[in-house]
Symmetry: C2
Subunit: 217 residues, 2 copies
């Protein structure tokens, strides 16, 4: 079964690099966050709003993962965080060696929190450890309330689920209770935040929690 063996080898190498990253960041007092979602759930906008709110309280560095373009990195830099763009050029997820290379391009002296925005994909990124301390999955009210059940692995490996686009709830058929229930049945320890990046609803609670996670303050 060469396919399986090779996949295991690749994942074992990835795990090794991820552990090195985790130890290296930990030694510098930096905590790392891996944020994942479908394309278009609002990761980049959430990150913009989060950086604006935490600026002055935390030093934030960002690694942006996209198949193509540097549009997201430009948005995040404008929000005030040092950013490195990774273009995977076809690969559907980030891998630990990409993070290692990107970290060499960030001045970590003033970074307390490293945020890694993964490629928009609710399946593949779940299998790849990037050396993060926290995994966040973002879903949105416009993408249907069946996502935890249909993509369970992503919810099983995350510690936080953020439900975004609360402002669009009146216009869509989306059962928040059902999503909470589905997600918690897969992962009873999941922290859940419900936000709108348009109105700001819920962002304070999320940013306070993240600030506490990052600095214990």
């Amino acid at each position: 079964m060469p396919k399986v063996t090779l996949a295991q080898n690749i994942l074992a190498v990835n795990e090794h690099v991820a552990q090195e990253i985790r130890q290296s960041l930990s030694a510098r007092g930096i905590r790392a966050l891996n944020i994942m979602s479908s394309p278009g759930a609002g990761k980049t906008t959430l990150l913009e709003r989060t950086i604006e709110r935490l600026r002055g309280r935390l030093g934030i560095g960002v690694i942006e993962g996209d198949v193509e373009t540097s549009a997201d990195a430009e948005r995040i830099e404008a929000a005030g965080a040092e950013t490195v763009q990774i273009n995977t050029q076809g690969t559907c997820h980030l891998e630990a060696h990409m993070i290692r290379d990107a970290l060499a391009q960030i001045d970590l002296a003033h970074v307390d929190l490293l945020v890694i925005e993964n490629v928009g994909n609710l399946v593949c990124p779940a299998a790849w450890d990037l050396g993060e301390d926290l995994r966040v999955v973002v879903v949105s009210t416009t993408e249907g309330d069946d996502k935890p059940a249909k993509y369970p692995q992503m919810f099983a490996i995350s510690q936080v689920m953020i439900v975004n686009k609360l402002d669009l709830l009146p216009y869509v058929n989306y059962d928040l209770q059902k999503v909470r229930r589905q997600a918690l049945s897969i992962n009873p320890n999941l922290h859940i935040f419900e936000v709108s990046c348009q109105t700001g609803e819920g962002l304070e609670a999320w940013c306070d929690w993240l600030g506490t996670f990052a600095r214990g303050v």
Copy 2:
């Protein structure tokens, strides 16, 4: 480079199976459609509305691909098409051998059009030929107007782009012209349909086009 060689072998085997499927369906006068999108762009709802409109004009068989659950297959059967569910159990896309196995479970005698709903993923399915005659990518107005530029391969290999959720345009920041322009710059031959599965807007044009594609009527 064992990784690349192996990947090429796997894709070559997939291509071989896909060609067998294409020839076998063609010999029976059946045309096949592979529909792809991000999770939650509305593939299943589009398919429900399409089947309702084409029922009586075309015999439609459906293969539903999901990582987990058979919820979508139940919805499609309720809409009136014979359906087989494939659960990939972790795999992020459908492959041709899965389609071959699923076809063995469908009575093709009355099928004119075979619709394959791929796993919700804007990256990986683009690399896997399933033996289809037509590839359709669905995007939606709630997922941001940068998707063709950020995920170009999917738009390069598709013949049709459907922009869904037109009814939510008043509530989101989405530039239809920009999406059309981006998509056509990647693939100038793309047929574009703009629809709302909630209001029905644009569905008649899409269904007429698909009916013509499937039967020449």
